[in-house]
Amino acid sequence: MSRTIPLDEIGREVRGIIAGTLRRPVEQVPLTASLEGGLGIDSMAMIEINIGLEERFRFAMPEMASPAEANLKTVEDLARFVAAQLDRQTGRSA
């Protein structure tokens, strides 16, 4: 899949995948929420979220044991990180 997916769509998907992993309504996962402090994403949750993202976007996320390891603080940071990874791995034209 090439990265013609706009950032706001990636953001929606990321929120949905986080909500699904944490078993919470998506409204409780705004882009501004902090991954560790706010949502309480631990190492296992991060790994499961990354697998969910890989299933959805068909790319490879780097392995990380915590969001901090990749300098990710908020849901939006993660969405931007996914977009950047997709650009790198699928080549961006748009």
Binding site: S43, M44, A45, I47, I51, E54, E55, A60, E63, A65
Partner: protein, 316 residues
């Protein structure tokens, strides 16, 4: 002489410790088998061609999975030095990876046991296809129910299997009894560092030990060596394979990624479980919050001579 009790490191071990040995045996037989009862095609998409489901031995970072597993088989064969007619028990033989390699490369007699009927079928079919069925037997049984005759085996193997067994004292006593004089015990498995490192009660630990694998108990290396020694065997050789396991897991994870759709077709949700537990394990071995070792022990005077093993270095 009373043995020091083994440490109970996470909640599921504490639960297991409250069960009778019979209850725990039934628990392991049921819970552990579930993982291995998945369609064998899934594992053929993820593992090497011999379906080894334990660490390979890698000499450099660019080697492929096939190379790492081939080196492991050859190294184990060299360590055991199985002679014609010797009898080998492979406890937790999986789909027959190491068992069948050794059957093809020696003139020994091989007895594998596993908790999974599907694994048994694959191992027996491969034994037939590869022309070694007359020297290979595979049974579906928990090792504690095997009741082998005293001094009936020359070699007992555990490759990636002893971690599933809670009652380790009983296992080591059984192994020591069943080995002949000069018999060898081989173990390849994972251990916790002697001093706690990382969070052993974490959701990640539970995911791998219980959700993915049914039941696992990691000892520290000194606990396992102590059990081997107290059962009357002498440790000959210990080798760290933690970085090889990181590499092995990396290959497996890539193979799950490549075959995600087919795995999903065969067992919905299982690709996630595989990738999830393998990622936790890879991170743990990379950070050395878990360690991977190969152990070799002997009953009485050794038939293998570890001092002659080729490790570069000259006396001056």
């Amino acid at each position: 002489m009373s043995a020091p009790a083994l440490e109970l490191r996470h909640p599921d071990e504490r639960t297991a410790a409250k069960r009778t040995p019979e209850e725990q045996r039934a628990h392991e037989a049921r819970e552990v088998a579930q993982h291995y009862e998945h369609h064998p095609e899934i594992f053929s998409l993820v593992l090497d061609s011999r379906l080894a489901y334990s660490t390979g031995v890698f000499a450099s970072p660019d080697e492929d999975l096939e190379t790492g597993q081939a080196r492991k088989f050859a190294r184990v064969a060299a360590k055991l030095n199985i002679q014609p007619g010797e009898k080998v028990l492979d406890v937790g033989c999986g789909w027959g990876s190491l068992l069948l390699y050794l059957a093809q490369h020696t003139q020994g007699y091989f007895h594998g046991i596993t908790l999974s009927g599907k694994q048994r079928e694959v191992a027996l079919q491969r034994a037939k296809d590869w022309g070694v069925a007359d020297r290979v037997r595979v049974d579906l049984t928990h090792v504690e129910e095997l009741a082998p005759a005293p001094e009936s085996y020359d070699v007992v193997l555990f490759s990636g299997s002893i971690v599933h067994m809670h009652n380790r004292e009983a296992i080591h006593q059984l192994v020591a009894r069943t080995l002949k004089p000069g018999g060898r015990l081989f173990i390849s498995d994972c251990y916790f560092p002697e001093v706690p490192r990382g969070d052993r009660d974490s959701s990640a630990t539970r995911y791998i030990f219980v959700t993915a694998m049914g039941y696992c108990r990691l000892l520290s290396l000194s606990e396992e060596l102590g059990l081997i020694g107290r059962a009357g065997l002498d440790v000959l050789h210990v080798e760290d394979l933690s970085s090889s396991y990181v590499q092995t897991l990396g290959h497996w994870i890539d193979n799950v990624r490549k075959n995600r759709d087919r795995i999903e077709e065969l067992a919905p949700g299982f690709a996630r479980v595989l990738q999830g537990y393998m990622t936790v394990a890879k991170l743990s071995f990379a950070r050395r919050t878990a360690l991977e070792y190969m152990l070799l022990a002997t009953k009485g005077a050794p038939k293998v001579h570890v001092a002659g093993w080729p490790i570069p270095g000259d006396a001056r």
